[in-house]
């Protein structure tokens, strides 16, 4: 089935759990956080949270950064709308 993973289309086996997906991707559970369709999935729910066709998943971690402001970790449709309106000004 197809899901959107960190903004990219990704094919994964059917009825996979979040735990299964992280293992499938060789990502360690520690130090990451997961959002499924814009709702955070608590770590203790990874095993019971089953993914469905068309789900949008974000897997984030800590990267270098400080007072620099580069690309945001997650960006909503609001942001894109705001950007568009700024460009039009």
């Amino acid at each position: 089935m197809n899901i959107t993973l960190n903004g990219e289309n990704k094919q994964i086996p059917d009825s996979m759990t979040v735990t299964g997906l992280l293992e499938f991707l060789h990502i360690q559970h520690q130090r990451v956080a997961v959002e499924l369709n814009e709702t955070i999935v608590k770590k203790d729910r990874y095993g019971e949270t089953v993914l469905n066709e068309g789900d949008a998943l974000e897997v984030v971690s800590f990267m270098g950064g400080g007072e620099i402001s580069s690309e945001c970790g997650v960006r909503s449709a609001d942001f894109k709308a705001k950007k568009r309106s700024q460009n039009h000004e």
């Binding site: 990502i27 959002e35 971690s61 990267m63 620099i68 970790g73």
Partner: protein, 259 residues
């Protein structure tokens, strides 16, 4: 000054120099600069895990969360909604409840969107996070953030990464007189004398990134910043002499030859 501890939201900070982890050549340089600066607080950003290239090293393999307090930021967020999402994800990663809230209003200046910052702070404080907001050097804004429950405020010295230094020392002083929480100068400092000035004014700490990472020799600048903060803090506590227009002799007048 080992007893000069800064307390924010029940957390004790030994260092008054807080350092970012962006813009370095590699993680090895990041680590060396952080060690040299003597800090115990590092800011990190929250980003999508690289799914394609998992061989990429993880920052936290170089920066030990047991040794350093990790301060995740919402850098790059332009709406309250994105900042809230990013901060909640950072908290869910399970390392800290601290978050440096940054809601940017404009790409060219990277000045904060005050309205959106207040909106996001309200939600995140309710969720139990320790919210340290990046804000303009506006005393009214600082007061609003503190009234919401922010345990510290982080006014800018100048635009992020500009290196222009403390552009408005008088506003920083008014902020310090207006709110009774720690003031951490965030963004815009360029060199050691800038951080010394911030500390001499009575600010509680300085957060910087570009001034070290962008220096020709980042490790040497990290050391300079360490001493800049220490010198400024000591001078503040020592109490400087008042400024006067005319001279005051420092040698005794009595016993001068020919008198």
């Amino acid at each position: 000054m080992s007893d000069d501890i800064l307390r924010i939201g029940g957390i004790e900070f030994n260092s008054r120099l807080w350092v970012g982890t962006g813009k370095y050549k590699d993680f090895a340089e990041t680590k060396k600069a952080i060690e040299t600066s003597g800090t115990d607080v590092v800011t990190v950003s929250v980003r999508r895990v690289n799914i394609i290239d998992k061989s990429k090293e993880n920052l936290l393999d170089f920066i030990d969360p047991k040794k350093y307090k990790i301060l995740p930021n919402t850098a790059g967020c332009y709406t309250a909604k994105d900042a809230i999402r990013t901060a909640m994800l950072a908290a869910e990663a399970g390392i800290t409840k601290l978050v440096k809230l940054e809601v940017i209003g404009d790409e060219r200046t990277l000045f904060p969107d005050n309205e959106a910052t207040l909106e996001a702070a309200k939600v995140l404080l309710k969720e139990g996070l320790i919210v340290l907001p990046y804000t303009s050097d506006d005393p009214i804004m600082a007061k609003k953030l503190v009234d919401l429950g922010c345990p510290a405020v982080m006014p800018l010295a100048a635009p992020i990464g500009s290196g222009l230094g403390i552009r408005n020392p008088y506003n920083l002083r008014i902020i310090m007189e207006t709110v009774k929480v720690p003031i951490i100068v965030d963004a815009g400092v360029g060199t050691a004398s800038d951080v010394a000035l911030a500390m001499e004014l009575g600010c509680d700490a300085v957060l910087l990134n570009t001034a070290i990472a962008g220096a020709k020799d980042p490790i040497a600048m990290a050391e300079a910043m360490k001493f800049g903060v220490l010198a400024g803090r000591l001078a503040y506590k020592a109490g400087r002499i008042p400024r006067k227009l005319y001279a005051t002799a420092s040698s005794p007048i009595e016993g001068i030859l020919g008198t």
